[in-house]
């Protein structure tokens, strides 16, 4: 029994081939064409697993681009998929914090791995990967450098949650010759503030698994974890938790003999 999970996110598109264990993982940029990105990532993941399309029994799509995939058998939201994926990687997971390109979310996971409650940021890029991307653009640094600069520096206070307003605020700080390091630290603290407001709205039990592209940066993870006062499980490849969850949903359905 072989399943595929395709997660078409706003920034990256991910695929996981699963047969009880993970056979292959592929991550590519989504670009402007989510449909094509979804197709390409699937073919590449087959290639890496040494499989043909017909070897796959079930394909499940997730992520905002799930609606554009014509070759999938089923679509499931990233909320359900992240809960499933995180639970598989860290069986004691009761909370998932995911910071993706376009949104951030906190998911309360029931003991059986189902979603008990969730909250997403509203209609806005505050506290998302996109927020960090814009800010690193102004500072002319990479995300990795942002993390390094931020760790060990006192944060300057950035009050705007809105990406566009925060951008203006940082331009003002640069004009006042505030150092890049304190601004970098301030930016990471802004993400933490947004997370605190999200985590206070759903039950946030240990263990907490941190997924999404931002979790790739170890310094940012350390800072967030110390501000929130919690320990994170960080997957080896935090971006693929959703795609893995999608493959798991397909696998579970096949085992139960469900069609839908």
């Amino acid at each position: 029994m072989i399943t595929a999970g395709i997660d078409v996110g706003s920034t990256a598109t991910k695929a996981v081939i699963f047969d009880g264990t993970i056979r292959s993982i592929v991550i590519i940029p989504t670009g402007w064409n989510p449909k094509e990105a979804g197709r390409n990532v699937f073919l590449e993941s087959l290639n890496q697993a040494g499989l043909q399309e017909q070897d796959v029994d079930r394909i499940v799509g997730t992520g905002y681009g799930r609606v554009s995939l014509s070759f999938i058998d089923k679509k499931v939201t990233e909320i359900t998929c992240h809960a499933k994926g995180a639970k598989f990687l860290f069986p004691q997971t009761r909370t998932v914090i995911d910071i993706g390109g376009q949104d951030s979310k906190v998911i309360a996971v029931a003991e059986d791995g189902s979603v008990a409650d969730f909250i997403m940021n509203d209609k806005c890029a505050a506290g998302t990967g996109r927020f960090l991307q814009v800010m690193t653009g102004i500072l002319d640094i990479t995300l990795a450098e942002l993390g390094q600069m931020a760790s060990g520096s006192e944060p300057v206070s950035i009050n705007s949650m809105c990406t566009v307003f925060a951008e203006s605020e940082i331009i003002g700080l640069l004009a006042q010759e505030v150092t890049k390091e304190t601004i970098a630290s301030g930016i990471v603290h802004t993400i933490a503030k947004k997370l605190i407001s999200l985590t206070s709205r759903v039950p946030c039990l240990a263990e907490i698994t941190f997924s999404g592209g931002v979790a790739n940066n170890p310094e940012i993870c350390t800072i967030l974890s110390s501000i929130l006062g919690v320990r994170f499980n960080i997957p080896q490849q935090p971006q693929v938790v959703g795609a893995l969850g999608a493959a798991l949903v397909g696998f579970g359905n096949l085992k139960e003999g469900k069609d839908g």
Binding site: Y64, V76, T77, I79, T80, D103, D117, M120, K123
Partner: protein, 381 residues
């Protein structure tokens, strides 16, 4: 299926423009109303026609934003925009506007509206319990009666009030029976269909006619249920919608819920069950009975507003719902703040799955809403 069955209601709103104009030519007066707190009985007893005014469309919002702040709730902006742009025919036909001091945004907006039309403002108390609140509100209801007597040059008798009460009670009975159809599982009518009926029927100028058509629809729906005709099945997640007022034009969230495979079986909100679940006491002094009934209306502009929590809890049981969606408009402070307490109340007390959706009338967030709503439906199925 819904289309043939509900066809009569589809045109009700447009048809009422000509019947209103005709009635006005024959000397009838029209009172335009915005809110559930405005007693229609008094308008009817004055021999006038009560008509709901538009405020559920995105279109006039840009006009409103020339005057009103952008971060105000879309309902207030839409209501004002319709009036200011002259694009609401019912507003144009109104002889007087009946308004009320519910939330801060509305009461300040009404100050601006008063430049377009004669406007009577009912001063609501901020709480529902206690003799003082009722006494005060009774005075306000009485002032509305006196104002209409002067504006329309009539005397409103107790007898006329009693007749109006009987008529609106009968209308409430009929609308409640219709909504109770969705207690059946699976419901024979979609939430979108039900919303359209509840919204459009308000524009019909003849309440007796409304009762007849609604009763006929109710019995047709009951017959459909018996024959197993329904767009849903036993597994369709059943949703109760609470929160801000919704109507045709501001139906985005209901549409998304049903496109994602759910069924909105109960609208607790203003145009739905909240308006009809209890009646005006026909045995008391009519004006006092009216005051009592209207003051009981659960609304987040009241503090405390515990009766809303109890009503939602009760309806969640009666309609056998799987989840509750609390819809709040951006900039609606009272409903947005209250959502936190409602969630705690329902989750802790009843272990009810609860989702708050904060949005506006625009289509800009439909894809993001779909993620939340689909995930919520996955969670409760």
């Amino acid at each position: 299926m819904d289309k043939d069955l509900l066809g009569e209601f589809e045109d009700m709103r447009t048809n009422s423009i000509s019947s209103l104009s005709k009635a006005k030519e024959n000397g009838k007066k029209v009172a335009g109303m915005y809110c559930l707190y405005s007693p229609t009985e008094i308008v009817l007893a004055a021999g006038a026609i009560p008509i709901p005014l538009c405020g559920t469309s995105q279109v006039p919002i840009s006009v409103a934003e020339k005057v009103l702040p952008r971060n105000l709730c879309p309902l207030i902006k839409s209501s004002y925009g319709f009036a200011a742009s002259g694009t609401c025919p019912y507003f144009n036909l109104s002889d007087i506007l009946i308004a009320e001091t519910t939330c801060d945004g509305k009461k300040k907006m009404y100050e601006l509206l008063a430049q377009f039309k004669p406007l009577h403002l009912l001063q609501l108390p901020q709480r529902q319990e206690g003799e003082e609140a009722l006494r005060y509100w009774y005075g306000e209801v009485n002032k509305m009666k006196e104002r209409l007597e002067i504006e329309f040059g009539v005397t409103i008798t107790d007898q006329a009030l009693r007749e109006a009460i009987q008529l609106t009670n009968e209308e409430k009975r009929s609308l409640k029976a219709l909504q109770d159809v969705s207690k059946l599982k699976p419901s024979p009518i979609s939430g979108m269909g039900l919303l359209m009926v509840l919204y459009n029927r308000g524009f019909c100028t003849d309440k007796k006619e409304v009762v007849q058509i609604v009763d006929r629809l109710t019995s047709e729906l009951l017959e459909m249920y018996k024959q197993g005709v329904t767009p849903f099945n036993q597994k369709t997640p059943r949703i109760l919608l609470t929160g801000v007022p919704v109507g045709v034009g501001s139906h985005k969230v209901i549409q998304v819920i049903e496109e994602c495979g759910g069924n909105v079986v109960c609208f607790e909100s203003c145009g739905g069950y909240k308006a009809v679940y209890d009646q005006v006491d026909e045995h008391k002094e009519p004006l006092l009975a009216i005051a009592e009934k209207y003051l009981r209306t659960p609304c987040s502009c009241m503090s405390p507003n515990s009766s809303r929590f109890e009503l939602v809890e009760e309806l969640a049981d009666e309609f056998k719902v799987d989840g509750i969606v609390d819809l709040t408009w951006q900039g609606c402070h009272t409903y947005n703040i209250e959502s936190y307490s409602l969630k705690q109340y329902l989750q802790e007390k009843k272990r009810r799955p609860f989702l708050q959706i904060e949005t506006d009338y625009s289509e800009s967030d439909v894809e993001q809403l779909k993620v939340r709503i689909e995930a919520f439906l996955e969670m409760i199925s």
